[in-house]
């Protein structure tokens, strides 16, 4: 398939799910989609179109939480990033990790550093942070503040 055919295929299959479409450069396409559509769309990219899952990157935008799922079609040298916007107070999205192994770890990471709930994820233990890290403290939120009174932040000179 060519680049145009792939994009047409995605746009026709998920007509109502794509909220915004940004053809940024020959190798980069960003699509904003409805959060409910992430599982069918990412599965379509991964399983039917043979894309490789690069990674998901979550970020706190103060008024919302955004997650980008980056997929690469290696034959076309095309990276398709699916963007979802989640409610910052109660971020929740369906889990891809339940279905495909490649998405498993990054969802664990986003859950603990940004506090996103992945519905149906099989294994929601801590991945990077210590087991005694306090609940409800998410270090990559913009309003993160030091919670540990014993921390020393000067060099002692």
């Amino acid at each position: 398939m060519t680049r145009e055919e792939v994009l047409k295929d995605i746009r026709s299959k998920f007509e109502g799910e794509i909220l915004d479409f940004c053809d940024k450069s020959p190798h980069r396409v960003y699509m904003e989609i409805r959060p409910e559509a992430i599982v069918p769309m990412a599965s379509h990219l991964f399983l039917d179109l043979g894309a490789r899952f690069n990674i998901a990157s979550g970020m706190d935008m103060m008024d919302r939480i955004e997650i980008l799922y980056h997929h690469t079609l290696e034959d076309l040298n095309l990276m398709i990033s699916l963007r979802v916007r989640l409610d910052r107070d109660n971020p929740e999205i369906d889990s891809m990790g339940a279905k495909l192994e490649a998405y498993n770890w990054i969802e664990r990471e986003i859950a603990e550093i940004l506090g996103v709930r992945f519905r149906g994820h099989p294994d929601m233990r801590h991945l990077l942070l210590a087991d005694n890290w306090p609940d409800g403290v998410y270090p990559l939120r913009q309003d993160y503040e030091e919670w540990d009174p014993s921390a020393i932040r000067d060099r002692g000179v």
């Binding site: 450069s25 190798h27 980069r28 960003y30 490789r52 899952f53 690069n54 990674i55 990157s57 979550g58 970020m59 980008l68 980056h70 690469t72 290696e74 034959d75 040298n77 990276m79 990033s81 495909l100 192994e101 490649a102 498993n104 770890w105 990054i106 801590h126 991945l127 990077l128 942070l129 210590a130 270090p139 990559l140 993160y144």
Partner: protein, 395 residues
Amino acid sequence: MGRTIVPIGPYHPLQEEPEFFSLTVEGERVVDIDVRIGYNHRGIEKLSERKNFDQSTFVIERICGICSTSHPFAYTRAVEDIFPMDVPERAKYIRTIIAEGERIHSHLLWLGLAGHFLGYNTVYMWVWKLREEILDAMEILSGNRNNYAMFKPGGVRRDIKESDIPDVLRKVESIVGTLEMLRDAIMDDPVIHARTKGVGVLTKEKSIEFSALGPTSRASGVARDVRKDSPYAVYDRLDWDMIVTQNGDVFDKVVVRVLEMLESVKIIRACLLNLPGGEIDAKIKNVPPGEGVGHIEAPRGETFHYVRSDGTNRPVRHKVRAPTFMNLPTYKATVVGETISDATIILAAIDPCYCCTERMAVRDVDGARLYDGQDLIRLSQLKTERLRKELGFGS
């Protein structure tokens, strides 16, 4: 048969991410594996948001000491992707030279440790001696053995002096003879074949499902290399081959890495001899709002960076994904079903940061037996010794 839980880790002297493995074994067979990482989490993504675009390169260089160039490389490409721009020709060549030099020393490091685990300590010492030549060459080019600090958004920080080129070339090419000898030795040695062929197989389907990267996937027959798929710097202009093998076992992973080093020497030679003149820095004044993605082929696979700018001098979000993050979960597919003496080399085979397996502790559930990491390496080395005798090589 009773099940035994084998905790491995978390401390290993050589690896960038200390991990904790818990293997469940039945007799000699591994039936389940679980991984716990986080012993090395330093919050670099958050720290990078406190730095400006130029300073960030120094922070992310310290993500990993072995592939210290791959992260600034991916990051600078991500920044340059925010507002599509091109870096000067000479900078592209210099970037390629540094990245390939790093690939050689990283693969050499891994090969030495793989030799150590298999009981070939001579290989370990020889290969690490060989590695010093590459580090010397990198020191001539950048001024430091590791952490080169050569990259900045828009170009490179430091030029290569014409007078240094012959020295660097001589040092890099000096490894070829020994490397070819090692390659032939690995291809011919029946003991290495017996130890590594058919061990820890990652099938092509599993490799795709896990989105495995770099040599780990190329050894399974998945032709996946960012240098070919999405050419950057000057890789599309040079003559080099992507090494792909089909079996996905430990042997194929060794072969892919050894052959790749020879390709890297070729690339460095071509770059040094064809180095164009001109500027080395495009001098970026400010970064406009937007987002960019940069990915490059690090020694272990694709390194991926995502940078978002809001028009100030700092990134608002900087996401880093190292190749091992995708390769580590493949243990679920490779270790299960193998024996505990092979686990050492399988765990090391994806180059997870080397000597993951150096400090294992084996404990029976009833507490009857206690092994430490040395014992497990010894177990692996004894198996090689036994095979040598069986194959008639003496001791």
